[in-house]
């Protein structure tokens, strides 16, 4: 009876305890005894730059399986800390790495890579307004540290399209719809937006 209660307690602790595995849009299979992998964190690539210049920030996790069954997690793997570590402000893309031994100790590290500086409104090609890894701009506000207590603000550079550009975009939109990459609803929404700019 005592054993059953202990076993149920063990399973209960497992079920209700914290999460050893990271939660992300892309997570490769882990190992129960040992895990050490690196995987993409930002997966919306739109000319996302991957440079050698990077910054990183880590959070740690400890699970006491033996004495208390309780687990603890601490530290800072925020984007803010990672860009401060890399001493840059524009993020091109990001990966994360996960390390775990026996589910007792785990460490999750966010790696961010610097984006090259982009000329705004250079005239040649309009830049999409969708905030993605490729055009995420981290801007320091006067009097406040970079991103501290502020949500990450993606400030895409938007070029006002001229009529010729709009025509090109309409053609491209049609091609995407024909290729089955856009639904009728998405196509109509985008088309209306483009026509409205004429």
């Amino acid at each position: 009876m005592k054993t059953i209660i202990l076993a149920m307690l063990g399973i209960g602790l497992l079920v209700f305890s914290g999460c050893v595995a990271p939660k992300s849009e892309f997570v490769p299979p882990g190992g129960a005894l040992f895990t050490s992998y690196k995987a993409p964190l930002l997966i919306s690539y739109d000319d996302a730059a991957v440079s050698q210049h990077s910054g990183e920030a880590s959070a740690s996790y400890f699970h006491d399986w033996v004495l208390t069954g309780l687990d603890l997690a601490w530290n800072d793997c925020s984007l803010n800390t990672a860009v401060q570590d890399g001493r840059f402000t524009r993020v091109g893309s990001a990966d994360y790495s996960f390390f775990s031994i026996l589910g007792i100790y785990a460490q999750t590290t966010v790696h961010v890579y610097e984006a090259p500086s982009v000329a705004v409104n250079s005239g040649a090609k309009p830049v999409t307004a969708v905030p993605t890894a490729g055009n995420m701009l981290l801007k320091e506000q006067p009097g406040t540290p970079l991103l501290k207590n502020n949500p990450v603000k993606a400030q895409p550079t938007v070029a006002s399209p001229k009529a010729a550009d709009t025509a090109t975009q309409l053609k491209k939109l049609q091609e995407l719809k024909d290729a089955g990459l856009l639904t009728e609803e998405e196509y109509q929404t985008k088309r209306k937006a483009l026509v409205g700019q004429l």
Partner: protein
């Protein structure tokens, strides 16, 4: 009594192990087979304005063995470096699973310029 406690300990251990292992997680995952799985699927599902003309390809992978050990570098940076890519326009991934996760391989495939 001793025997039953051993069985229960094993059950707890197995539950613990399975709770920490699993399949690949991605925005788009096709159905997988327990005995054998090999598929390639989109990792980046935002296809808007994705231009795949004249792109180069780079790959990087992680491996999991017996659901006990997992290692490797499948980061976008590693894949881009392997393909000589500095700007990524799109990414797919490939997942291989043999015999209930005895051997699992996840490959990130990036395309870019």
């Amino acid at each position: 009594m001793i025997k039953s406690s051993v069985y229960l300990s094993v059950a707890v251990l197995v539950t613990m192990l399975f709770s920490m292992t699993g399949c690949v997680t991605a925005p788009f995952v096709p159905p997988s087979g327990m005995v054998f799985t090999q598929f390639t699927a989109p990792l980046d599902v935002d296809f808007e304005n994705t231009d795949m003309s004249g792109v180069k390809k780079g790959t990087a992978d992680t491996i999991s063995i017996l659901g006990l050990f997992a290692f490797g570098d499948a980061s976008s940076q590693a894949a881009a470096q392997n393909g000589g890519i500095t700007k990524i326009v799109h990414a797919d991934y490939e997942y291989l699973n043999i015999l209930f996760g005895i051997y699992q391989k996840t490959t990130v495939i990036v395309y870019g310029k």
